[in-house]
Amino acid sequence: MTPDEDEKNEEVEMVEIFVMGKRYKVPKGLTIMTALEYAGYKFTRGCGCRGGFCGACSTVFRTKDEYKLRMDLACQTAVEDGMFLVQLPFMPAVREDYDIDEVDPEERENVLLDYYPEIARCVSCNTCTKACPQDIEVMDYVQAALRGDVERTAELSFDCIHCGLCSIRCPADIKHYHMAQMARRIHAKYNQPESDELDKRVEEIKEGKYDDEMEKLVNMEEEALKKRYDERDIKEEG
């Protein structure tokens, strides 16, 4: 390191982290993701939106003074001194195939149990809920599914980003997020009222109402496009 860099480092508080057992010193205040990049890692897997929404950067870690095994998203979690971590770029959990036209919950009372029978092994240990970075009541939605309550399963699981952390330690080997996605799709198709506005918009798109505007955007220069994006209409929050 050059004397200049050394000086810079003295100003910034550094913390010690261990990535797959190897020790690094990284600036405090970085997220796990940016800290890994600071340390020289380049993400080719397990990195996506960087905004806590895509579920790609699942990370499992322990902190120095706590015995608990914690799980969270790398892009949303700040590094801590003594953090001992590893990333899980993929969860092995096969999604069950189904025909959306054959899963009417009115006709098939226990349809979720049929496609995911392992939900009957749930012991209510709550490991899934503790692992969820979106604060979803995961155990509660599994229990709802076991009871045949598709609506409640869909509602409780709405914020799920499919990071898979719930499923990795489940003692019953449940594939929570796949099962919940099926519940949401069933709920949307069979329970929710149809949206006339959506149907209308789809028609408009098919008729080519937005073709010219799309064409313009696609062919815009990068700078002009960035400017257009920065100046877009944003709805005020609240």
Partner: protein, 131 residues
């Protein structure tokens, strides 16, 4: 491979007594348990035979017969045993030793018509027959 480890590495009787907190040597082989058991017809060997085999160290006899899997934990034997042995707990201990060796007796994906079944049956079956 798993069953081999089961047979070789553990003191089976000790493990059964530990998991059940019951004494197998209290059994006097009176047969009251078998007499009251509603499922005894489908058991390959009788309950009290299972206990005798455990005390004699004949683990194969226990593991190769279906007795503990036909038991439905109805507790009839436990309430009638003249020696006050909680037989249901001993059966449970034998089941647990097998299940904890990562051997499942039922494949959750192979259940026919799971939708027709009451949750009680599915949950109960998986609890008793999967690890």
């Amino acid at each position: 491979m798993k069953l081999k480890k089961l047979r070789g590495d553990i003191d089976f009787m000790e493990k059964v007594e530990e998991l059940s907190d019951e004494s197998l040597n209290s059994c006097i082989q009176c047969g009251t348990c078998s007499a009251g058991c509603p499922f005894v017809e489908d058991m390959e060997i009788l309950p009290e035979r299972v206990f005798k085999h455990i005390t004699l160290g004949n683990i194969d006899e226990v593991l190769e017969h279906n007795t503990m899997w036909i038991c439905a934990a109805c507790y009839t034997c436990s309430v009638r045993c003249p020696r006050d042995i909680d037989i249901a707990k001993i059966m449970e201990a034998v089941r647990q030793i097998v299940l904890r060796a990562d051997i499942d007796m039922v494949d959750v994906d192979e259940v026919d018509n799971i939708e027709e079944l009451p949750q009680l049956a599915v949950v109960g079956c998986f609890r008793k027959e999967t690890g």
